[in-house]
């Protein structure tokens, strides 16, 4: 069995209580860090681990921490990004719901490392029931002396605040999240200055994803080098993958980075294969923003080698033949999936979620939504396909935050790999608009 860093105890009955979590070895990382280590030593271990941001960007967490400015007399903040909203991604939801103390323990260790006395967990507002679970865990940890004043007699004080969002995907972008936390509209900020210098309340701030922070207790207990020994190359440790779509066992899996995509889809330990009687058509491997790949390309690199579940292997080939690990939102589609319709639902999503601040994104996402709807409803024109590619190109790279790119990539990649399917919708409008109609032309299923 592969090493489980986050989910080893997730099925232990009542692991959501302090008592059981503690009995299973919980909060030992807090004891170790606060009693035997300096904050700098904690940062050093996280750096050594090589753990990369698990929210989607994949930026090394230890390096992000080392950028934090530390001017005298100015408070510093740690903010946990639990605004999980990327379509296809539900791992943080699962982790916080099932084992809330893991995040709380990680928040204490990480806040100590950064010198934060007040830290926030910003949770998407729809997950109000999870917010209550976290608040209960915080109350239990406070009662046990792991939060509050002078934790474990170390002289370190920490208060944790759980903040609800209001239903806006854009607040998953870290500067929009900070704006939202300040009680404003979630409009991303121009960078620089980066949050590490001017973040929450214009103070130095680190924003990290739930899963990233949840890795820190294990790293402190076992050492950064041990963590770095897991995985392949610069893809160290494990990754939570949210698996959805046409697979036998949808759910959240903690995988060692480095297994093959084929194993992940077909092995009984993970997704258990494509549902009976069907064949794999396409996969979106890292949440709705990353390029969609046809079955053959997700399973194998362009040179024929097996593709691995790592940051590097998934992006091998660039956007021509590759994709990204992203947030680990793995959406599998069989031959019954209509790529045009699926692409349209995502275009509609980005149109709905664009904050409206930058014209290329505000206008472009609207255009793409409308043009795709036109094609999907049998009113498309051949010129529409290149129009979509053109609009996507004009959004990409021209906006303050990455939402523009996130909106452009799924559409550009769907056309890149499934162009004939778009053409069929335009040349066969009557057939294509029948309920449940799916392109049955040439395509390579696996």
């Amino acid at each position: 069995m592969a090493v489980k860093i986050l989910t080893e105890h997730i099925n232990v009955p009542n692991i959501n209580t302090f008592e059981v979590y503690r009995k299973m070895g919980g909060y030992t990382a807090v004891e170790k860090a606060l009693k035997t280590m300096t904050p700098e030593e904690v940062v050093e271990e996280v750096k050594k681990s090589g753990v990369r941001g698990r929210g989607g960007a994949g930026f090394p967490m230890g390096m992000k921490w080392s950028f934090l400015a530390k001017p005298e007399g100015v408070p510093r903040y740690l903010v946990c990004n639990a605004d999980e909203s990327e379509p296809g991604t539900f791992k943080d939801h699962y982790l916080m719901r099932e084992i809330p103390h893991l995040l709380i323990e990680g928040m204490i260790v990480s806040s100590f490392a950064l010198g934060a006395k007040k830290s926030f967990i910003y949770v998407r507002g729809e997950l109000m029931y999870v917010i209550k679970i976290l608040e209960k865990a915080i109350a239990e940890a406070t009662a046990a002396g792991f939060l509050g004043k002078n934790i474990l007699g170390s002289g370190y004080d920490l208060e944790l605040v759980v903040q609800p969002g209001g239903g806006a995907y854009i607040c998953g972008e870290e500067t929009a999240l900070l704006e939202s936390l300040e009680g404003k509209r979630g409009n991303p900020r121009n960078k620089p200055p980066f949050p590490a210098v001017k973040g929450l309340y214009q103070s130095p701030t680190v924003v990290n994803n739930v899963e990233s922070i949840a890795n820190t207790p294990w790293i402190i207990n076992n050492g950064g080098e041990t963590y770095a020994g897991l995985g392949v190359g610069r893809s160290t440790g494990t990754k939570l993958i949210s698996a959805s779509g046409h697979i036998n066992k949808p759910g959240v899996y903690e995988i060692p980075l480095g297994i093959t995509v084929e194993d992940f889809i077909y092995a009984d330990e993970w997704c258990g294969g494509i549902r009976p009687g069907h064949h794999l058509k396409a996969v979106i491997a890292g949440g709705s923003s990353v390029p969609i790949l046809p079955a053959k390309l997700i399973l194998n690199l362009a040179n024929g080698d097996k593709r691995l579940m790592t940051y590097e292997s998934l992006s091998d080939g660039g956007f021509a033949t590759g994709t990204m690990l992203g947030s680990g939102g793995f959406i599998a589609m069989d031959e019954t999936a209509c790529i045009v319709r699926n692409t349209w639902t995502f275009a509609r999503f980005y149109h709905h979620e664009s904050c409206g601040q930058c014209s290329p994104c505000r206008e472009g996402t609207g255009w793409m939504d409308k043009v795709l709807e036109r094609i999907e409803t049998g009113k498309g024109n051949m010129r529409d396909i290149d129009l979509l590619v053109d609009v996507a190109k004009k959004i990409e790279g021209n906006t303050i935050c990455p939402l523009g790119d996130a909106a452009a990539w799924p559409i550009a990649s769907a056309i890149r790999h499934f162009r004939s399917e778009f053409e069929w919708h335009i040349t066969h409008p009557q057939e294509a608009t029948q309920p449940g109609a799916v392109y049955r032309g040439e395509m390579e299923l696996v």
Partner: protein, 165 residues
């Protein structure tokens, strides 16, 4: 339908809760309590009227416009009256792959209303929302804090019948 009646006032418990929330933030940063307070207000009144927003502005000592611009940005806040149960149905890709659109069609038929409408008896309002972060358990909808997952036509019938009682 829950109507707001003047004067707007949090219940004593909610008012105490609101004060406790405001105290969480550093001095002078009480505006950070805006989203939590709007959630509290919606919990009490069912929706967020301009009177409610003015009341929240007063509690936080900020301008009413600062509340309006925020409440209208975040889709969870209902700016118009809604029914007793607001069904927020996920319409994003992964749920659609699992037959979410067909089940939604069934739900609309069952309630006899379309997206954005409220049943004549004021019991149900239907809204379409984007991804609820439950893609492996789709199709999904949410009513207040509760997630209803792995929906089928039969399951929808049961839920609606239970809530209609």
């Amino acid at each position: 339908m829950t109507e707001t009646t003047n004067p707007i006032l949090f219940t004593p418990e909610r008012l105490a809760n609101a004060q406790e929330i405001i105290a969480r933030y550093p001095e002078g940063k009480q505006k950070s309590a805006l989203l939590p307070l709007l959630h509290l207000a919606q919990e009490q009144y069912g929706w967020v009227s301009s009177d409610v927003m003015d009341y929240v502005a007063g509690l936080l000592d900020i301008l009413p416009i600062e509340v309006y611009e925020v409440a209208s940005f975040y889709t969870m806040f209902h700016l118009d009256p809604v029914g007793k149960h607001v069904i927020e149905y996920c319409r994003t890709g992964p749920c659609c792959l699992m037959g979410g659109e067909d089940v939604y069609g069934h739900l609309k038929q069952k309630l006899g209303i379309d997206t954005g409408e409220t049943t004549p008896d004021g019991k149900f309002t239907l809204k379409e929302v984007e991804c609820l972060a439950a893609c492996g358990w789709g199709p999904v909808f949410q009513i207040r804090e509760k997630y209803y997952m792995n929906l089928t036509n039969e399951k929808v019938d049961e839920i609606i019948e239970e809530l209609s009682k």
